[in-house]
């Protein structure tokens, strides 16, 4: 088959050895690459009860058959592991250049096993694997390490952790190409637990394409479609993702001050419009991406990529902060320390509420923008209260006697949509396999933007079918691996056609959705095997019991129970959320 390199690279840090072997192509046919392939391999490699920060956990970096082909947004890659934050299966997904380079180095999959006795960094260059002592890098921040190891555009690409990962912060990110991140769920801590500081990749190969003429036509079609869509040709390049701030706030779905309110009076000051007007230097893009949603922002003190909507919300409305300069600086700092901005911001917000209510002794208060940077440093280096905050909001809030003040699902801090204003989003968060997350399907399209069609965001009955569709689609796209923003202009049918042209296998559109469903169910099985149950498919009590007192979502709480029952039925699961045997047989998962 073409598209894939058909090669796996295993690196054993215990012995500082490596081996390469053929990729199981039957597995690849069923799971493609990226998230899907990573999940399937993780099922075999990390059994139940493994401590996520022990040497028995692994890091599985996966590209896909489209990666490095030059298809639009074919730069993305995944890392799969067991999350030290949630204990669930985890995959995180990043853009930039590193994933493309892994493919050029000749590998679909890179698996990191064991633990190095001392800090190490790995160089993968034109088929050679070299282990380097990382003593002089340990303790250094992401930008410095990235530069020191020779990051060079699309020729040599660096993936590394910062101090947060080294100090095993459970919200630590793995950073690539300087400011791109594999962030949610704490994969940086897994890498830190292995004493692995960085992986640098250089390669020259390009994946083989089965039908180059058809592939060229699909490139042309996709280029046309992305250029024709105002979403991908105007809105995202001009304003970036922060353009979401005003609309989500307008409808009363912007979590504010640790989800105590659903509208933020300072939203316009931290919007995409404000960022473009005052701080934007230019837009930028990942490799082979014509959309260009990346911001390059500058204040008097810093210049860097971002911030994204989620980051701006997390350090902004969630913390009651309307100082966009402070938010931009916090984003750059958080990336340099190597932490998930969503979890970091929401954990700070949790600490703010704990502090204001007198449950912890601290000068943290909502609105205190000047404390963002010091708190991020304290979290990355585990100093003072930062030592507790480095473990995420649920462990923080639990330690101080109030777990209900963590705005998380399965331990992962929720993103910038308050489900009391978007019922379907609530179901989506509650059932997400990696915890509170909007990248496992997102009801933003139908419930807020009218994409493809507006549905009543307060409607409960029938909502689960949309959620299931979005979850399956996102799992399929994450397995290709391409950027979900491509899907704003290009329907899944096109992905099936491109995949067929590249691999020589005939994938129909429904087969892609079936693969997404397969991946979703496999992830579910993994979590069930870890001991997760129906009771973990829930939301914080605040969202279930405390209705906003004002604004467009006034009076609403999430009606989770009826949606969940309908969801389980729609998924072919029993009333406890366990996939039924016939569903597993249908998805070719019966042997797991």
């Amino acid at each position: 088959m073409t598209g894939w390199c058909e090669k796996v690279l295993d690196i054993d840090l215990d012995t500082r050895s490596y081996k390469t072997y053929p990729l199981d192509m039957e597995m690849a046919r069923l799971f493609i690459g990226g998230r899907g392939l990573g999940a399937r391999m993780l099922w075999d490699l990390v059994g139940p009860g493994v401590d996520a920060l022990s040497p028995e956990n692994v890091l599985i970096f996966t590209a896909g058959p489209l990666t490095a082909t030059g298809y639009q947004t074919s730069n993305r890659f995944s890392v799969s592991t067991k999350s030290p934050l949630t204990g669930t299966i985890l995959d995180a997904n990043s853009g930039g250049f590193w994933g493309m380079q892994l493919k050029k180095a000749g590998f679909d999959v890179l698996i990191i096993l064991g633990k190095s006795e001392k800090p190490v960094w790995i160089e993968i260059k034109n088929g050679e694997i070299v282990f380097h002592d990382a003593a002089d890098l340990w303790g250094q921040r992401v930008r410095a390490v990235t530069a020191k190891l020779g990051q060079n555009n699309n020729r040599r690409n660096v993936l590394c952790i910062g101090p947060a990962g080294e100090n095993l912060s459970r919200i630590a990110a793995i950073m690539n190409d300087g400011e791109r991140s594999l962030a949610r769920g704490g994969p940086g801590a897994v890498m830190g637990s292995k004493n692995l500081k960085a992986i640098v990749v250089e390669g020259k190969e390009r994946p083989e394409i089965n039908d180059p003429e058809r592939f060229k036509f699909m490139l042309y079609e996709t280029r046309k479609l992305l250029a024709a869509s105002p979403l991908t040709s105007q809105a995202l390049p001009e304003f970036g993702t922060v353009v979401m701030m005003n609309i989500v706030n307008n409808i009363g779905a912007l979590p504010t001050r640790n989800h105590q309110q659903t509208q933020f009076e300072g939203a316009e000051a931290i919007s995409g419009e404000a960022l473009t007007e005052k701080y934007l230097v230019k837009n930028s893009s990942c490799w082979a991406c014509p959309i260009g949603c990346t911001r390059i922002s500058r204040t008097d003190k810093v210049e860097g990529e971002g911030p994204e909507f989620e980051t701006t919300w997390a350090f902004g409305a969630q913390c009651g902060i309307d100082n966009l300069e402070a938010i931009i600086e916090a984003n750059v700092l958080c990336n340099d320390l190597g932490m998930d901005t969503i979890s970091a911001g929401s954990t700070i917000a949790c600490a703010m509420e704990l502090s204001e209510k007198g449950y912890i002794e601290s000068d943290l208060r909502f609105g205190r923008a000047e404390l963002l940077a010091p708190m991020l440093e304290a979290m990355a280096y585990r100093r003072d209260l930062g030592a507790d905050m480095a473990n995420g909001s649920l462990r923080l809030a639990t330690k101080y006697g109030h777990p209900e003040l963590s705005m998380s699902v399965k331990g992962l801090e929720m993103p910038a949509y308050d489900p009391r204003g978007m019922q379907g989003q609530g179901l989506l968060f509650a059932t997400s396999n990696r915890g509170g997350c909007h990248m496992r399907g997102n009801m933003l399209g139908p419930e807020v933007l009218g994409l493809p069609k507006l549905i009543d965001r307060f409607q409960v009955k029938g909502k689960s079918s949309f959620v299931i569709l979005h979850q399956n689609s996102s799992a399929a796209i994450d397995s290709l691996v391409v950027c979900k923003f491509t899907n704003l202009g290009v329907a899944e049918e096109y992905f099936a056609r491109v995949l067929s042209a590249v691999t020589g296998l005939q994938y129909a559109t429904n087969e892609l959705f079936r693969i997404g469903e397969r991946v979703w169910n496999l992830e579910r099985l993994y979590n069930l095997r870890e001991g997760f149950t129906r009771k973990d498919d829930t939301l914080p009590a605040r969202l279930l019991n405390e209705a906003p007192a004002e604004g467009p979502s006034k009076g609403w709480v999430v009606q989770l129970e009826p949606m969940l029952k309908e969801y389980y039925r729609g998924r072919g699961w029993d009333e406890n959320g366990v996939p039924k045997p016939q569903k597993l047989a249908e998805l070719l998962l019966a042997d797991l």
Binding site: P230, A235, M244, E273, H438, L454, F485, S553
Partner: protein, 88 residues
């Protein structure tokens, strides 16, 4: 008088961020806006139909395009108009 707020690319198209428009229905409001700011005819409202994926809210509640725009508008209403946008 109802207030109309523009967002994202519509701010540049209209040249302003917000305006007060005396009108009793959303239809009349959109007609006035299109007359006052000709680029909005292309981008928002051509006199009969809303452009695809335009989002309009009144006091934070979506206007359903399928229900039409002959909706009464009150003097203290806030009408927000968003062009096609996306994010994550």
């Amino acid at each position: 008088m109802p207030i109309v707020k523009f967002y994202a690319g519509l701010q540049k198209a209209a040249g302003i961020k917000e305006i007060s428009i005396p009108s009793a229905t959303l239809h009349a409001t959109l007609d006035s806006l299109a007359a006052e700011f000709p680029p909005l005819k292309q981008l928002v409202w051509d006199g009969e139909t809303l452009r695809p994926h335009i989002v309009i809210t009144i006091n934070g509640t979506h206007v359903d395009p399928e229900q039409g725009v002959n909706i009464p508008v009150m003097p203290d209403d806030l009408i927000a108009i968003f062009p096609p946008i996306a994010g994550g």
